[in-house]
Amino acid sequence: MSERVGVYVCHCGSNIAGVVDVEDVSRWAGENLDDVVVSRDYKFMCSSLGQELIEDDIKKEGLTRVVVAACSPHLHERTFRRACASAGLNPYLFQMASIREQVSWTTQDKAAATAKSKAMIAGAVERVKLHQALEPNEVPVNPNTLVVGGGIAGIQAALELADAGYQVHLVEREPSIGGHMAQFDKTFPTLDCAACILTPKMSDVGNHPNINLLSYSEVEEVSGYVGNFRARVRKKARYVNEADCTGCGICIDKCPKKVVDEVFEAGLGYRKAIYRPFPQAVPKFPVIDRESCIYFERGTCKACEKFCPTNAIDFEQQDTALDLAVGNIILATGYDLFDSRKIPQYGYGRLANVYTSLEFERLCNASGPTEGKIVLRDGVTQPKSVAIIHCVGSRDKRHNTHCSAICCMGALKFGHLVMEKTGAEVYSFYIDMRPLHKGYEEFYDRLLEEGMHFIRGRVAEVTDAARQPGEEGKLIVQAEDTLLGMQRRVPVDMVILMAALQPRADAKDVGLQFGISCSMAGWFTERHPKLDPVATMTDGVFIAGTCQGPKDIPDTVSQGAAAAARVQGMIAVGSVEVEPVVATIHEERCSGCRICNNLCPFNAIDFLQDKAVSYVNAALCKGCGTCVAACPAGAISGAHFSNEQIFAEISGLLYDVVRGNGAKALLPVEVPA
């Protein structure tokens, strides 16, 4: 019995109809293509009325196959499949022809566009007749979640899930959670103390019965698929026994080895070889930095062990590996700061009193290297004048083309803190002022009222070469004051560089590990920049916070909460549908050559040792077809991409050359189904 195919050609307003002669195409399909019993064109197929057209025709005309020629399947394949299903037709007996993205949006040539549309519809009709009815797989969702990164984004996500009653594994690679926010002194625009608003959440995380905090740990390997991931986590050896340690800190006091703390203190302060990153660290257990420790270097000292009242030091401690089973993963890995040495003319690294924004945060912070006193690098002298340079490494083709979103506000904040603590004159050198969110413009007003000076001009150089009296011994900031149209040299005591936010140095590797991609700039790629910023193209893996792009704390917290909400939704449903358009390996034809194993971009192919054949994990498989094409024995078939279906589509596309013979005209040999 032959099939009964319905063809629907969408106008998409004038998007398609403006270039393609949709009436002609739909009439042509009805008159010329075999087995097409219904052929219509309609203004907006994706509307309810459009969908009803399909549903009614399925019921009244007894359609067995449906083709919709419209936009990209990415947008509405699901919509039309649902329409078919609701009328009782298996949703996989449906095919879409993208005559918008692939035709009307690529050319102004109406004749060519109309001809190509006919070809694509013919192709879709020929192939859909050979579709099999498929049933989606349902896989259960493990209610546990893995959150990678213990900054404010990860903390927020973890707390929301844990408060909802679900188990969370929070992995953080530093000895304490808190991330960059823990380094800050105050936050704009409220001037809340960062630690004061952060530490309660950190403490909640530390105490929460549903959060398994794995600090000083890293994820080594991830496998699996949505609802069913396995993560291997390496818990690095602290050389401190957590069960015995009381967090008293005597070991830190007694340790004789001091090194520069390049992470938490941003290189501006020191720490011991055994250390806690900051006093409010969660967890409270210190860590021995093996590379700086005298015992590990020379075998002597052991002062920490001698003085520990509970014998908690264990130099023999090993890294441990943990295997976690989770249903979903949230990546909240944060950002790195741009290395300002790449702009030598600003003097960072050469001129002592040039600081980066993170260094300055540490300077202001009461638990920082100067106990919150804003001083020059001699550790003693208060500056009488400070310049703040915006856009260091941002908005620059040579470094990062993006705007880092928070520097203008950060500069205002620093200006306020400097004036409040030292009474110094503050000069901001900016290109544009970007106080964008709630309360931000008012904060800018406040700083104007407080007497901060604003000079519109991107700084050309910072130099200590004095040219005239008044400049000796100072750092001279040279820029064009563009609003005056003249070059100015402003002598100051201290310069703060608002350095760009950048993706983490290992972001691409981390992305690869979790199966997600990064943009050209290096940020994790969201599923849709406007409408789906926390999901990724990999089901079950979400992103939150600055790892997705530069943003302030409110947006970061929102994204952490959003990611947690999405995960909660999946856990609540309890199972997730997995697309059945997958590849299948026919055991009897597989020789076990394993060529397909390494080709799979989704690591979906396993090798069964006992049977010596390869096997496709249907839940991981995305149906890309790589293995199907690569198999030398032709042992793999792809649902919806069998040889017959592909040849049928090709013969449909070549309708004007191949008439009447359909798929058979192109098939060179009989291929077993």
Partner: protein, 187 residues
């Protein structure tokens, strides 16, 4: 490729005459060029302002400006511009245009270049003694204090040729330059 302004506009012509000049229209007006320029304080318009004027079509004012003539070709602007605009090359374009349009009022700078080139075209090499003498004698000679002792110093250190050196292929060079000028005229 960004659209370099409407055809025939001053900005468009500046861009067409400068290899890589299309990015001029992406100028942020950040002022890095004006801030970097060693001779900036002596210019009547900073390079940045000049680009704004070009964008506004102020051809006369731009070509009368002393800015391109005070450019010392240090290329600081070019290596620091966040949009990678070929600023120094645009300055050369503006010099070309100012001379062709006879719009640069202060005659000193173009005249120096013209004198220099005159010797190159005659001999194939530069001839400093001839150049300096001819140029300074015709441009405010009385204000050139110190030039005499400078010249004598150079002579005494044997750092000044008394006679120009002519290359063998001067005919070839002249043919090449002649053709080049022909080609420039039709652009």
């Amino acid at each position: 490729m960004p659209n370099p302004g409407s055809n025939g506009s001053f900005q468009h012509r500046v861009i067409e005459a400068t290899p890589g000049g299309e990015v001029l229209i992406t100028c942020l007006q950040c002022g890095t060029c004006g801030g970097s320029c060693p001779s900036g304080p002596d210019m009547d318009h900073t390079p940045r302002r000049l680009f704004a004027m070009i964008g506004a079509g102020m051809q006369d004012e731009v070509l009368r400006s002393n800015t391109p003539w005070y450019c010392v070709s240090c290329y600081y602007c070019m290596v620091r511009c966040p949009k990678e605009i070929p600023i120094t090359d645009i300055m050369y374009t503006l010099k070309n245009m100012a001379v062709k349009a006879k719009l640069y009022d202060d005659s000193d700078a173009p005249d120096w270049s013209k004198s220099f080139i005159g010797y190159v075209e005659s001999y194939g090499r530069s001839f400093e003694l001839g150049l300096a003498t001819r140029y300074h004698l015709t441009h405010k000679p009385l204000s050139k204090v110190g030039l005499g002792s400078f010249g004598l110093g150079m002579l005494s250190k044997d750092r000044l040729s008394l006679r120009p050196h002519r290359i063998k292929g001067i005919g070839q060079l002249r043919a090449i330059l002649g053709k080049a000028k022909e080609l420039e005229a039709v652009q």
